[in-house]
């Protein structure tokens, strides 16, 4: 008899799966879905306490393909942040996980994206970045590189939007970049994001095998494999678990996350401190200049108020309040009426 591994809440990995994907074979988005499943399983999250949200695009379809035991909302093109904002306010006990595309976020949705960050809406926000519009068949998105060539479309004459830089400027407290071809890192960063209180941005290069996977494209598998430069080796140790690996002294930076989990950043080639704001800015700039896919946790600031902190709401979710809490007394109405007569 084959044994299935169960996590701390007694679910196996299948408990986090969704319907089978209808995306293209080899699409980066599928690989990210798998890592969302793995991350939630690893963290033993209760699927009924997660809501998944998306906009419109191939990427935004993927909530159907993971977390089948979670409620979700496949909303409008570029407008998922607003729906997520309202949802999180109506029930602050739910963990929101958003999946978007580069078109969804950086083109039509850049406004809502920035305002979500400005409000620090507590949620994980993944951009499955392939530099094209997959679902509408291969037009340039706003993250396409200047000078990039697409078969049918021609050459892109405009500078790309860097969603990590946008997030940085908008004071996002958790900014990570990763590559769908580096599944372990994707998984660990998603786990880290899930333990963060505030908007956590994950810009994941996610190749579109159908429309933008030529080797010279910065959003292709081959380019990613050849140019990825991880900042560190990331491991998220959930709060209830022991740290199993023995690290050499000075080799690892340990960061405590909001829920008590520990993020272990093992040093690779360079010294990098993700809490250093100017270092993060320089890094993003230099990566662009050097045309390198620098991945890992780029910026972390755990000390910012979230939207929920400033709204000052009762502990019971607004969506679960009963009539007694919601409808003031008849006497109070009488008083108001008296003041108007």
């Amino acid at each position: 008899m084959a044994t299935t591994t169960l996590n701390l809440i007694g679910l196996d990995k299948a408990g986090y799966k969704g319907k089978s994907s209808t995306l293209c074979q080899g699409c980066g988005h599928n690989s990210i879905s798998s890592q969302i499943i793995a991350a939630c399983f690893d963290l033993s999250l209760d699927p009924s306490k997660i809501i998944k949200l998306s906009g419109i695009g191939c990427s935004s379809k993927s909530p159907a393909y993971f977390l089948g035991r979670s409620h979700g909302f496949n909303s409008l093109h570029g407008r998922m942040p607003s729906v997520a904002t309202g949802a999180v306010i109506a029930n602050h006990k739910l963990k929101a996980l958003g999946v978007s595309g580069d078109g969804d976020t950086a083109s039509i949705g850049i406004g809502q994206f920035i305002h979500m960050l400005r409000r620090n809406v507590p949620m994980v926000y993944i951009i499955e970045n392939n530099g094209v519009y997959g679902l509408t068949k291969g037009q340039f998105s706003a993250t396409a590189d200047k000078g990039q060539v697409l078969k049918k479309i021609g050459r892109n004459p405009f500078m790309p939007v860097d969603v990590c830089l946008e997030a940085f400027v908008a004071n996002c407290g958790f900014i990570a970049r990763s590559f769908a071809g580096d599944p372990r890192q994707v998984r660990e960063l998603i786990k880290a994001a899930l333990t963060f209180d505030g908007t956590a941005i994950l810009d994941i290069i996610s190749p579109c095998v159908t429309f933008n996977n030529r080797d010279e494209s910065t959003k292709s598998y081959v380019w990613g494999k050849g140019h990825e430069e991880p900042l560190h080796d990331v491991t998220l140790v959930p709060k209830r678990e022991e740290i199993e690996v023995d690290y050499e002294p000075g080799e690892v930076t340990e960061v405590e996350m909001h829920d008590g989990s520990r993020l272990m950043l093992k040093k690779l080639d360079r010294d990098y401190d993700p809490t250093d704001r100017m270092a993060a800015l320089a890094l993003l700039h230099q990566a662009h200049v050097d045309q390198l896919l620098v991945t890992g946790l780029i910026y972390l600031n755990r000390d910012q108020e979230t939207l929920l902190d400033v709204q000052g709401m009762v502990d019971t979710p607004l969506g679960a309040l009963d009539e007694k809490a919601l409808r003031p007394s008849p006497e109070s109405l009488k008083e108001i009426m008296a003041s108007m007569s």
Partner: protein
């Protein structure tokens, strides 16, 4: 017809020396931003407290400071509160519009004016002029610089009160209400009012026939604007979440929520809020947030006006199709486009009715008074949650921003209807769940709320084609079945929507159909028409889709006039669409000039249409 002739008609026969009690319109002409609002409110409230039926309408420019503004106060012993075309009394505080303002006065009208206006400007010989020593009294009061304008406006309050016999005690009372008991502000303003009144007593002789006398017609009534009423309705309807983006004339609705919620909806034990308000970055985000909150189970709303409604089109279609409850207040202003931001209209009827692409149909409520704004304020949540659909409440600038006499608001007469929501226990008992299945045959499916821990509970809400299980589907039969169910739901919604208010006049051949703020003008017009031997029935719509009563009403009358404030006769068109077999009977009386309808316009145009 020249303005003068019109004015003469309106004034009727006015004999010199005979008093005209409790029946006139007064216009205060000022400059926007000059602080006259406090003065006008003081006069209105004082008249109201004297027991006189009044209405006040502010015709203001889309401008912060410097352009002309007219505030109209109507006193009517007969209880009519519609705007009138004619003005008997002018308080001329704006020299720039003086000539025009004087022109629009009735023969033998009255004009109060600062005494430094050149005599040459006051050219109409039939008018009774009352100069007011505004500069002198302001100098004597020596107010702080930033209060000068307010104080100057208090001078006319005092002089007008003296000449028209408005009770100064009631003016004081009104100021106390206005300044919420801030004694210093009340005293400073009241001092000027009193010295102005005293000055008038010694220096002016009453030479005009207009005056007020205490009555008891406002006992038990309140004075309120529709946006405050709407906000209170939402508060007592249990609003959990409101998102908005500033726009005239809707802003004051969200601001009133912000005024009332902290005191009414703070948890006494923890001091925390049982609500949340967000000023969004635009109307797209405002409705998106409200939809997100509605999906999760909070009573969610947004409030806006025409341009915002345009931006909300895509989301409105999503909420209709994904079946998410949400309440949207449209405080209509004049469009198309930016139009006239500070002028009223009923021009969004057709657009909102079908807001969203594809075959979208929206439910609309049509409040006709502040009391109905309050009632629909809470009822809209019950309807949205029961029907799992957006509910649009179609108010307008006139209703939303002007002060109205109103019956006091009635506390909701039934518990909240939270609609068909399945709990984990329900799911355990039922053993199966499909989000878009029509179990009860009324077209309304059951929903679960995110957070429900039962494994049967989750579903992926979507604006894409879906099966009963909310799974993406392109199957023609799934699509058709879903659209048929949505239509069934929409059709059935009539049974729980507010019914029209009908006043049948036995034997009347003419039926009038109206909705919203045209109500007072229509009521008054019916009286006038009766005086000319023209009998009419009246149906006031309160919701779309229409109930059968509407069709029956049309059937019962030879000629039905739909009276509305838009250029295309939008409600008329909706009625003709709904009742094609009766379309020929349905005629249109429409006016769309930015001003609230008047009874005279309706009367004249109906008589002309009837060739009487």
């Amino acid at each position: 017809m020249s303005t003068h002739e019109v004015a003469a008609l309106e004034a009727g026969s006015q004999l010199a020396g005979e008093e005209i009690v409790n029946d006139f319109s007064m216009v205060v002409a000022t400059v926007n931003g000059s602080g006259s609002q406090t003065s006008n409110m003081a006069i209105i409230r004082a008249l109201f407290r004297m027991g006189l039926p009044i209405s006040g309408k502010n015709l203001f420019p889309s401008n912060i400071q410097g352009l002309p503004t007219w505030f109209t106060i109507r006193v009517s012993a007969d209880g009519f509160v519609a705007r009138r075309d004619a003005t008997e009394i002018l308080v001329a505080m704006n020299k720039a519009t003086l000539v025009e303002d004087l022109q629009s006065l009735v023969p033998n009208g009255v004009c109060f004016h600062p005494d430094d206006f050149e005599p040459g400007l006051l050219a109409r010989p039939d008018i009774t002029y009352y100069p007011m020593p505004v500069q002198q009294l302001v100098r004597e009061a020596a107010p702080p610089k930033e209060m000068r304008d307010y104080i100057a406006n208090m001078v006319y309050v005092g002089v007008v009160a003296n000449i028209l016999r408005i009770d100064l005690g009631e003016i004081r009372h009104a100021l106390e209400t206005h300044f919420q008991g801030k004694a210093k502000a009340v005293a400073m303003n009241m001092d000027v009012v009193e010295s102005a009144a005293a000055w008038a007593e010694t220096n002016l002789t009453k030479r005009d026939p207009y005056c007020v006398r205490r009555d008891q017609q406002t006992e038990g009534l309140i004075l309120v604007d529709g946006n405050t009423a709407a906000a209170l309705g939402a508060v007592y309807g249990g609003v959990g979440f409101a998102a908005w983006y500033p726009i005239t004339p809707a802003s004051s609705l969200a601001e009133a929520l912000g005024d009332y919620l902290p005191s009414l909806r703070t948890d006494p034990e923890t001091g925390k809020a049982t609500y949340s308000i967000i000023q969004a970055e635009d109307e797209l985000a405002a409705i998106g947030m409200a939809i997100g909150a509605g999906w999760v189970g909070a009573r969610a709303m947004t409030s806006t006006s025409g341009p915002g409604i345009s931006l909300m089109a895509e989301f409105s279609g999503l909420a209709f199709f994904a079946e998410v409850p949400v309440v949207i207040w449209d405080i209509q202003r004049m469009g198309p486009s930016t139009g006239l931001p500070t002028r009223t209209s009923q021009g969004d009827i057709m657009f909102v009715r079908f807001l969203g692409h594809g075959d979208t149909r929206q439910v609309m409520l049509l409040p006709g008074s502040p009391a109905e704004c309050f009632e629909f304020g809470w009822r809209a949540f019950d309807l949205a949650e029961r029907l799992q659909t957006p509910v649009f409440v179609m108010s307008d600038l006139d209703l939303g921003m002007n002060l109205w006499m109103s019956e006091p608001f009635v506390f909701p007469d039934k518990p909240m209807d939270r609609g068909k929501v399945l709990t984990a226990d329900d799911l355990e008992r039922l053993g199966s769940f499909a989000r878009y299945r029509d179990i009860d045959g009324d077209g309304i499916p059951y929903r679960t709320l995110p957070g429900n821990e039962h494994p049967l509970s989750p579903y992926l809400a979507r604006g894409t084609g879906h099966s009963e299980e909310a799974v993406y589907s392109e199957r023609p039969d799934d699509w058709e079945a879903n659209m048929e169910r949505l239509l069934r739901k929409h059709t059935n919604s009539r049974t729980i929507l507010p019914r029209p208010v009908i006043d049948l006049s036995a034997g009347a051949e003419i039926g009038l159909i109206g909705f919203g703020t045209t109500d007072p003008a229509i009521m008054e017009a019916r009286q006038r028409l009766l005086g000319k031997g023209v009998d009419t029935s009246y149906l006031r719509l309160r919701a779309v889709p229409f109930v059968e009563d509407v069709g029956e009403f049309i059937e019962e009358h030879d000629r039905v006039y739909v009276i509305e404030m838009n250029s295309d006769g939008q409600m008329r068109q909706l009625l003709q669409l709904e009742y094609p077999e009766l379309a020929a009977r349905v005629r249109s009386l429409r006016r769309n000039n930015g001003l609230p309808l008047t009874a005279r316009w309706i009367t004249d145009n109906l008589l002309a249409a009837e060739e009487i």
